[in-house]
């Protein structure tokens, strides 16, 4: 069994700050991390490997420093790591990204046939959840998104059964390999890296591929050129012309502040009170 796990190195978005005057991103000191959703994908692949044996190849597209993300994947137990890096990939949107990654996976498949591709449900920087479906579509693999559980894997019959989160419930789906699975957060709990694997990760020679190594012949399909979308502007949200009415009282005591606020709310916005009535027969939805 051979699993490819797609990972991305992202800035820790919880630590990104915007410069209050220039409205530009302050990148300095923002640590790069492995996209947290991808770690669930890696762990799920490792669990399958624990049960069925086989190999795990971690694949990451990004700048040379994204190597750190792959070393982390190796430390957790991935067998092989490939960094897809080329200046020609810069500025790729989701369509161009899925093109490059699918070319790389095709190339990996030439070396050792791929049974499953795993990815996180989305990244924390782009939040689009589009690259997984894009890769599956390009490789003509069965696509299983938002998977909350892998119920069974039958390598002989080449079948996998999963739970997929859908609107209003869970679909139990059975499909054939090869398949691409994007996993939901909380599907598992990440293991600790073993000391042996940590040492191995340090010494491991990463494979680095540029666009030629990935056999990408059509340079018009990657990077900025291959991207149908373009960012036309980046801006801070416009200030609303309201500023909260700050409740103040003479005493400044919580009890007085609360009483003043509640009285004001009920007199100025009585419609809100309707929503609070526990025995209300009003259906207040959908009338906006």
């Amino acid at each position: 069994m051979h699993i490819v796990v797609c990972i991305k190195q992202v800035p820790d978005s919880a630590q990104i700050r915007v410069h209050p005057v220039t409205n530009t991103i302050m990148r300095q000191g923002v640590p790069a991390i492995v996209n947290p959703y991808d770690l669930y994908a890696l762990e799920e692949a490792l669990r399958l490997k624990d049960r069925y044996r086989g190999r795990i190849t971690a694949l990451c597209m990004g700048p040379p420093q994204a190597e750190a993300a792959l070393r982390k994947a190796l430390a957790f137990g991935a067998d092989e790591a490939i960094l897809l890096t080329d200046r020609a990939f810069a500025g790729a949107d989701t369509l161009a990204t899925s093109y490059a990654l699918s070319a790389a996976i095709r190339q990996i498949h030439q070396g050792l046939p791929v049974d499953l591709v795993f990815a996180g449900k989305q990244t924390i920087d782009g939040d689009t959840a589009q690259v997984g479906p894009g890769i599956a579509t390009r490789l003509d693999m069965q696509l299983l998104t938002y998977v909350s559980k892998i119920v069974s894997l039958d390598l002989a019959a080449r079948e996998v059964v999963v739970h997929r989160r859908s609107e209003g419930g869970v679909q139990v789906l059975k499909t054939s390999l090869p398949a691409l699975i994007t996993v939901l957060e909380g599907i598992n709990e990440m293991r600790f890296a073993s000391l042996t694997d940590m040492f191995r990760a340090e010494r491991h020679r990463l494979t680095t591929w540029n666009k030629d190594d990935a056999h990408i012949e059509d340079a018009t399909k990657i990077g900025l050129k291959g991207s149908p979308t373009a960012v036309s502007k980046v801006f801070a949200p416009t200030a609303t012309n309201r500023r909260a009415e700050i409740i103040e009282t003479q005493s400044g005591q919580p009890v007085d502040l609360a009483a003043t606020l509640v009285a004001k709310l009920f007199s100025q916005r009585p419609e809100v009170a309707l929503a609070m009535k526990p025995s209300s027969t009003h259906d207040s939805r959908g009338s906006a």
């Binding site: 696509l143 859908s166 980046v234 309201r242």
Partner: protein, 366 residues
């Protein structure tokens, strides 16, 4: 694992617009909304998108079409009529027993076929688990641009292109994305981002049936079972009337009890900001914001939440926002309606008490 128009993208000249459209693409006309029909019901996000699509179509002076895919049952016909009542001029209907439940491959094939046959210039889908799964595959098959989780849509007056705005950099800033020489221009929008339009029962429109002949045996993925949810916050939060949310300023897990106390008195759902969820004080399904749920309740009470863009885009369409924060300069006071500058740990219990008393008086008055 995704990258959108990414933070790594080299800066483009400011104010860049899509170039003049190729002639071969000029034949793409009209705004489409994919109507999410499942198990006899339409997801409300589809109606919200028809309301927004109506505005885009009016600006462009083109038709607004609803696209309904599903099994050939009577309820699906009613959905077409409903779509017209919510603003569509016409409805494309493609029915086949194979489309009974959502599966990526047949839905992608049929929606792609419809786009290639009728050539819409804009295609909108809800950013649900279904819509995101389908949109990614359809955009890749059509080799066109897709902007995910938009918070605003507009038409560029000069070139009639779609300008889609969404949060970027983990929700610290907003960016506007255009599609260059590719059609259709695709976008997904989350439930509750757009307002629910009012249905007009007297609106009429055409229903165009697109014949299909799908073969179940050619669909690889099979549905073994569907297990419906019992009502969880996952489903309830976006449609809650009142939400009480806590953030980093709540300081400790124990203090979240104060949020729950107030929520109970108001009959409200409990929400949380991303830092509070990351600290483990509330479950992931309670998270409000760009990386959580988008909500638009009658009343939103934010305690110990500073109001970063990432949170703001998920809740600033609430009718009334009350903010409690120790920092008088916190951004949340720039878009809340009422504010109390103070320690949430002392204000919240006082507020719970004040609401309890006030509601008791109201009840007596009734």
């Amino acid at each position: 694992m995704t990258s959108s128009p990414t933070p790594q993208a080299p800066p483009r000249p400011a104010g860049r617009r899509a170039p003049k459209l190729d002639e071969r693409l000029a034949g793409y006309k009209g705004v489409w909304v994919f109507v999410e029909y499942e198990r006899g019901q339409v997801h409300p996000v589809s109606w919200e998108l028809l309301g927004e699509g109506r505005k885009l179509a009016d600006t462009l002076k083109v038709d607004l079409a609803a696209v309904v895919l599903g099994p050939p049952d009577p309820a699906i016909r009613a959905s077409c009529d409903q779509a017209i009542q919510y603003g569509a001029d016409l409805c494309y209907l493609a029915c086949d027993p194979v489309l009974k439940d959502y599966r990526n491959a047949p839905y992608t094939a049929v929606l792609t076929e419809l786009v290639n046959r009728y050539l819409p210039e804009i295609l909108l889908l809800g950013a649900t688990t279904l819509g995101r799964d389908l949109a990614g595959s359809v955009a890749t098959t059509l080799k066109t641009g897709l902007t995910a989780d938009c918070t605003g849509l507009a038409i560029d007056a000069e070139n009639r292109g779609l300008a889609a705005t969404r949060p970027t950099f983990g929700g610290s800033l907003l960016c506007t994305i255009v599609t260059l020489n590719y059609r259709p221009q695709m976008a997904t929008i989350r439930p509750r981002v757009m307002a629910m339009p009012t249905a007009s029962p007297d609106r009429t429109g055409r229903v165009i049936e697109h014949p299909l002949a799908l073969v179940e045996d050619s669909v690889v993925t099979k549905i073994l079972e569907f297990v419906p949810d019992n009502h969880s916050a996952e489903a309830n939060l976006p449609f809650a009337d009142i939400i009480v949310s806590g953030g980093r300023g709540m300081k400790r897990q124990e203090n979240f009890r104060l949020i729950h106390d107030l929520a109970r008195v108001l009959g409200a759902e409990v929400g949380a900001s991303r830092p509070a969820v990351q600290a483990g004080w509330a479950g992931v399904d309670r998270q409000v914001g760009q990386s959580g749920k988008t909500v638009r309740p009658r009343l939103y009470i934010a305690a110990g939440i500073s109001g970063a863009v990432q949170h703001r885009v998920g809740m600033d369409k609430s009718d009334v926002i009350i903010a409690i924060n120790e920092d008088a300069n916190a951004p949340i006071f720039d878009f809340a309606h009422y504010g109390i500058v103070g320690n949430a740990m002392t204000i919240l219990p006082a507020l719970t008490q004040a609401f309890t008393e006030h509601l008791r008086t109201l009840k007596r008055a009734c």
